[in-house]
Symmetry: C2
Subunit: 321 residues, 2 copies
C-alpha cells in the first residue's frame, strides 16, 4: 500500500512544520492519485502568498542573485520559499561535477525553505507538480514564494507566468539580451534585472533594455506599472535591496488595479489545462500496452496517421467514462 498523505499532514503543513512541508511536496511531485484529497485541502488554504517567478538564460547570474535575494528578503522579517526548476540552479541537488554555491548562510532558518523540483519526468507533469508545491508553501504561510526557472523552453515560460510578479534576469556579454528577446522572455517581465553590474560592459545591456521599454515593448498588461530595469551586483551586493523594494511596489500596483484578479484568473486557467494534460498523459500510460500499441502498429503500417490515431485514443479514453 502506498503512503497516503493524511489531512493531519495538511494541518502540520499549515502550522509551518518544515518536515511536513517537504513530505507533502514529495507526495505532490509523485503525482499519485492518493494525494489528491490532501492537495485539494491544501488548495483551499492558499491565496495569501505573493508568488514571484524569476527567469533568465543560463549564465545570466540568476542563481547567485537568487541566493542574495532570498537572504535579503528574509532580513525584512518575511518568510520566503524558493522552488527551483532550473537544472543548472545551485538549489538543485545532484550536481555531478560540483559548482553548487554554498547556501550555509541560509541554512538553519525556519523562515526559509528551498526546494528543487525533479526535472527528469519524461512526459511532463513538472508544471503541475511545481504549482502544487507552490500551493503547499502558500498554505504553510510563506509570505513570498520565488519560482526559479531557466528561461528557455515553453514549459519554463508557462511555469514562470504562473506568478503574480515575473522577473527576467539578463547579464552583460554572452549575447544574452539578444537570445532573451528571441526566446520571447523579455516581454513577460514585470521587473528587469541586469546582473553582474560590476562588469564594465553591463551599461550597454541596461541601455538596451531601457531602450526597449521606451519603444513601448512593455507587455506586462498593466498600464498602472512602469517596468523598471534594476542593475544588480551579487559580488558587490548592489541593487538587491532595490529589487526587493520593486517586488513590493509591483504587488501594490497589482492590488490597486484589476490586474491582480486578471492574473489570478489566468493562473487558474493554466493550472486547469496543465492538470487536464497530465490526466491525459496518465490515461495514455494506462493504455500503453493496449489501444496505444494497436494504434502505433497502424501508424507504422501507414494505415492511420498521428491525428486520426490521437482522436481514436481520446475516443477510447472517453468511452470508459
Amino acid at each position: 500500500m502506498r503512503n497516503v498523505p493524511s489531512l493531519e499532514l495538511v494541518d502540520r503543513v499549515a502550522a509551518g512544520d518544515i518536515g511536513a512541508i517537504a513530505r507533502m511536496i514529495t507526495r505532490a511531485e509523485s503525482g499519485q492519485e492518493e494525494c489528491r484529497p490532501a492537495l485539494a485541502e491544501i488548495y483551499r488554504r492558499t491565496g495569501r502568498a505573493h508568488i514571484v517567478g524569476i527567469t533568465g538564460v543560463p549564465g545570466s547570474g540568476k542563481s547567485t542573485l537568487m541566493g542574495k535575494l532570498t537572504a535579503t528578503i528574509r532580513t525584512t522579517g518575511r518568510k520566503v520559499a524558493v522552488v527551483a526548476i532550473d537544472p543548472s540552479s545551485p538549489f538543485s541537488g545532484g550536481a555531478i561535477l560540483g559548482d553548487r554555491i554554498r547556501m550555509n548562510e541560509l541554512a538553519g532558518d525556519k523562515g526559509i525553505f528551498i526546494r528543487s523540483m525533479a526535472t527528469r519526468g519524461s512526459l511532463g507533469g513538472l508544471a503541475r507538480a511545481t504549482l502544487d508545491a507552490v500551493d503547499v508553501l502558500d498554505a504553510a504561510g510563506f509570505d513570498l514564494i520565488l519560482i526559479e526557472t531557466v528561461g528557455v523552453g515553453q514549459d519554463e515560460v508557462d511555469i514562470v507566468q504562473a506568478a503574480h510578479t515575473t522577473i527576467v534576469v539578463s547579464a552583460p556579454g554572452l549575447g544574452d539580451d539578444i537570445q532573451a528577446i528571441k526566446a520571447g522572455i523579455l516581454e513577460i517581465a514585470d521587473i528587469h534585472v541586469v546582473s553582474k553590474c560590476d562588469r564594465p560592459d553591463s551599461n550597454k545591456t541596461i541601455v538596451d533594455l531601457k531602450g526597449m521599454m521606451t519603444l513601448g515593448l512593455n507587455f506586462s498588461g498593466n498600464s498602472n506599472w512602469r517596468v523598471p530595469v534594476i542593475a544588480t551586483s551579487a559580488l558587490k551586493l548592489e541593487g538587491i535591496a532595490e529589487l526587493v523594494e520593486a517586488i513590493g511596489q509591483h504587488r501594490k500596483a497589482l492590488e490597486s488595479s484589476d490586474e491582480l484578479d486578471a492574473r489570478r484568473k489566468r493562473i487558474a486557467e493554466r493550472r486547469m489545462l496543465k492538470t487536464a494534460e497530465e490526466i491525459l498523459r496518465d490515461e495514455f500510460e494506462k493504455h500503453r500496452d493496449g489501444k496505444v500499441s494497436a494504434l502505433v502498429s497502424q501508424m507504422l503500417a501507414h494505415k492511420t496517421n498521428p491525428y486520426s490515431a490521437a482522436q481514436d485514443l481520446l475516443a477510447e479514453i472517453r468511452m470508459e467514462k
Copy 2:
C-alpha cells in the same frame, strides 16, 4: 474561407517543389483543421528519410556547426533539410539585433531546404508542428532531415528524441558539459560532438565525455553501437566529414538491429500523445468563455481545486462527443 491545402499541393510536395513544401509547412504550422486531410496524405508518403536531431545548450557552437554540416552532407549528393526550432539559431528568422550567420553558401541549391519554426505559440503545439514539417520534408524526398533544437526544456528534448539519430553538441569552457549533464541531455546522445576544437581547452571536454562513456553512461539503448565523441572545428573545418560518416554508420547500426523499429515505435507513440494534447488544448480554447470560465470562478472562490476542475472540463468535452 480559409486556405485549404489541396491534395494537388501534396503531389507538388512529393515532386520536390520548394514553394509547395514551404506552403505546406506553413499550413501545418497553423494547426488548422482543414489541413488534416492533406497532412494525412503526406504522412502516408513518409518513412524514407533519415531524421537526425541535433541539440546543445546556447553557446555550444551548434549553429555554426549546422551550417558546415549541411553543406558537407550536400557535397555527398544527398538532399538535406533543416528544421530549426532553436530561437537563437541563425536559421531562425526575425533576429532583432542581428547575428544571423550568412547562409549564402547554401542559398540557391534545390537540394537544401532550411526552415525555422515559430516558437511563439503560447500553449505549445510546437512539437506537433515540427514533426508535421519533418513529414512534409520526408514526403518531398529529402534524404536527411536535421532537427535543430536548443537543449534546454522538456519540449526540446521531446522533439529531438523524435529522431532516428541524436547528436549532442558540447563546447569547451562555459561549464556547458556540466549544464548538459544536469539537463539530462548528454545521455540521449547517439553521437557526441565537441565543437570549437581549435580552442586549447577543448581537450578537457573530450576527455570528460569519453570518461562518461567508459563509465557506462551510454543510454542510447543500442548494444550494437558505441557512442563516438567527435571533435569538430567549424573554423578549421575539421571533424565535419567524420561526423557525416558517423551519422551514416549509426543509421547502419540501427538497421542491422531491432533498434530502428524500436525507435520508430517510440516516435509514433510520442506523436500520438503530442497530437492528443494539442486536440485537448484546442477544445480548451473552444470552451474558454464557457465551461472554462465557470470553473475558473469556482477555483478562485476555492469551491473547487485544479484537479477536480480539470476532470470536470474533460467530462464536459467528452459529453459533446
